[in-house]
């Protein structure tokens, strides 16, 4: 206890005393300070700080000890504490200070509220623009959302799905393009931006082999190599463009991407077609390729039907064009049907007027009937999906011809056939018509001659029709049979219908009539050539004249 009292006595209030005599001290301090500074410059510059801290530490420890002692109530006790009564102005100033503090606090709060209100308003405006644009996009495009991507990245995971399934068959390879999904992001201004993948080039242009002119089957879009964000940084004015314009631009971009995807799909389809030439005909190779590509470019759901119809049509076309080209009296009239799976043509045979007029110079009661012979006979071909229907005039009613009633002239045959048979059937129809019309005119002529008194006439035996030839046989006096044979051959390069004249004994079998072995001319067979109708008519007339009289 004595130690503590001693310690208390040692409290040094010298500093208070010193403060009361500042003038005395300053002089002496000034003298010593200079000396002190000159020496302390060589010492550590923080020395004064350290000394001050040590002094403070000492004083603090003294005061703490004093407080402890007072607290313990050992040697020193507090006699009493009084606060002097505050003067009213002190009271008021205290009140003023606390009011001012409170006011300050409120002002700070007010600033804080205003700031947050502004930022919230900005956020509202930004979101309103974003969602407005998104809703407008949604009117035309499919918008979807990735939950997981939203959790991962800072964006909200919206994207536009441009995948189009309509051109794919179920068996086709399922390969969505890399452009199928386009992410929607917030750009620098917080507005909606569509980010195209970098270096996307959207032009397709290719030629089809075998054609002289390039056919641009792919449309070309613009080449875009930068994402939307770059544009906005280059043109800061764009940020202030109206929302409508931005949305319109985005629509354009999306449309271009969609078109590029569609072109890609079409290109794939065309490539597949070209590599699997299952629908290509041998004869018309170049045009068929173009036909199949053209038909397969129809972006419709019924692409299968179009392809198949196209191939059938094109094969028909090939055969018919040959027929028409090679036979001089056949005309082809096409009837365009605006249905991709149906097509129809008419082959018509026109009898030259010279033949008809020759018969009309007869002064007979049936002369008037001659004028009623129609000069055109038709065969109609109708292709619907994969069935072919051929309709044509059959045997003209000979009796009706003579009686001069034009309405009962001919009956109409119609039948369905296969593709393989089509050329043959067409040629057969032609043959029937040609043959029988010429026959009618001839018979009329011979009747005329009969009526004018000529006795001998060739006896018409039979007209046979086989698969690829027709024959008209006449019997002569000596029992010989002269045949006029027409051979139809669609692959013949010079003409489809060739005429042969054969003479034989009448016991010939049918297979010998077949001109397979028959490019050979013998004594019994003579090749007449590819006759036009006038030549045929005059040949027959001469022949009959020869035979009869």
């Amino acid at each position: 206890m004595m130690k503590r009292v001693n310690l208390i006595r040692r409290i040094d209030f010298a500093w208070a005393v010193e403060r009361e005599d500042p003038s005395k001290k300053q002089k002496s301090e000034g003298a010593s300070a200079k000396e002190g500074t000159s020496t302390s410059q060589q010492q550590w510059p923080w020395q004064s700080l350290v000394e001050n801290l040590q002094l403070a530490h000492q004083e603090l420890s003294v005061i703490i000890d004093l407080i402890n002692t007072v607290e313990a109530n050992d040697a020193v006790t507090v006699a009493g504490m009084t606060r002097p009564k505050q003067l009213p102005n002190e009271h008021l100033s205290d009140l003023a200070v606390s009011t001012a503090t409170k006011l300050q606090c409120f002002r700070n709060l007010g600033k804080y509220f205003k700031q947050s209100a502004k930022s919230l308003e900005e956020q509202i405006a930004r979101e309103a623009r974003f969602y407005g644009a998104l809703i407008r996009l949604q009117q035309n495009w499919k918008i979807k959302r990735h939950r997981l991507v939203a959790a991962a990245s800072g964006n909200e995971g919206f994207y536009i799905d441009l995948f189009d399934n309509s051109l794919y068959d179920s068996a086709a390879i399922f390969r969505p393009s890399s452009l199928s999904t386009i992410p929607i992001e917030h750009d620098a201004a917080g507005m909606l931006a569509v980010n195209l993948p970098r270096k996307s080039c959207h032009s397709l242009q290719f030629e089809v082999l075998g054609l002289s002119s390039a056919s641009n089957l792919g449309k070309s879009g613009e080449t875009k190599t930068s994402a939307g964000g770059n544009d906005s940084s280059k043109e800061p004015g764009k940020e202030y463009a109206s929302n409508d314009e931005r949305v319109r631009e985005i629509h354009l971009t999306l449309r271009e991407v969609h078109r590029a995807i569609h072109d890609e799909q079409v290109f794939d389809l065309v490539n597949r077609e070209a590599c699997n030439p299952s629908l290509v005909n041998d004869e018309t190779n170049g045009s068929s390729h173009r036909n199949t590509t053209e038909t397969s470019c129809v972006p419709s759901a019924s692409v299968d039907g179009a392809k198949f119809g196209g191939s059938i049509n094109q094969r028909n076309w090939g055969s018919q064009v040959h027929l028409v080209y090679r036979t001089p009296y056949v005309h082809l009239v096409s009837h365009p049907t605006w249905h991709s799976r149906t097509s129809s043509w008419t082959l018509s045979v026109k009898i030259p007027q010279s033949i008809l007029h020759a018969g009309s110079q007869i002064p007979m009661p049936t002369a008037a009937a001659v004028k009623n012979i129609r000069s055109q006979f038709w065969t109609r071909v109708l292709v619907i999906d994969d069935s072919i229907r051929v309709e044509g005039e059959g045997a003209p009613n000979v009796v009706g011809l003579f009686r001069g009633r034009p309405d009962s002239v001919s009956s109409i045959n119609g039948y369905d056939c296969d593709l393989v048979d089509l050329p043959i059937i067409l040629l057969q129809q032609l043959e029937t018509v040609v043959f029988l019309v010429v026959l009618c005119v001839l018979i009329r002529r011979s009747l005329v001659r009969l009526s004018s008194g000529c006795t001998r006439k060739p006896l018409l035996l039979v007209s046979k029709r086989q698969r690829d030839f027709l024959s008209l046989a006449f019997e002569l006096d000596q029992g010989e049979i002269v045949r006029l044979v027409a051979h139809v051959d669609p692959e013949d390069t010079q003409g489809c219908i060739s005429w042969w004249l054969t003479v034989d004994d009448g016991i010939v079998e049918e297979h010998k009539l077949h001109p397979d072995m028959s490019d050979v001319e013998s004594e019994s067979r003579k090749f007449l050539g590819y006759l036009s109708l006038e030549v045929l008519y005059s040949t027959l007339l001469d022949f009959l004249n020869l035979c009869s009289c």
């Binding site: 503090t101 709060l109 804080y112 979101e127 809703i135 918008i143 990735h146 005309h331 365009p336």
Partner: protein, 155 residues
Amino acid sequence: MNKGGVGLGGGAGGGAGPTAAAAAAAAQKQKTLLQRVDTDIGNLVDNFGFLVNVARVNDPPVRNSQESFMMEMRAARMVQAADSLLKLVSELKQTAIFSGFASLNDHVDQRMEEFNKLAENTNGRLARIGEEAAASLKELESHYYSSTLRTSVPE
């Protein structure tokens, strides 16, 4: 992919058949959202009331500074409540985009109309082109077959 939809009408009541679960979920979702809205607005009101109550100036300045800290805290809470309300609004907008079936159907109908009109126009044009082409074809064919190219036999 789409967010669950909030029923456009009132509560589900008795949703029959296979949509019972969906209707119940929708009602639940709607209740949750309403609860959130109520919480947030309650927060705002309470905190503002406290701010106003505490505006009185006290004598010992200690209480003043204590109150100032509390006031700052309440203000922060108010701003947070406002923010969560805004988030709610954007959630609702997203829901409207993905599950607002009435408007989606309207959009689809509109597009269908437009496309149908376009298709009709195109068909009309194609038909006209076809007719013109057929007429020209007939004319050309007749010219061809009566021309000198065909009157001599092409052997």
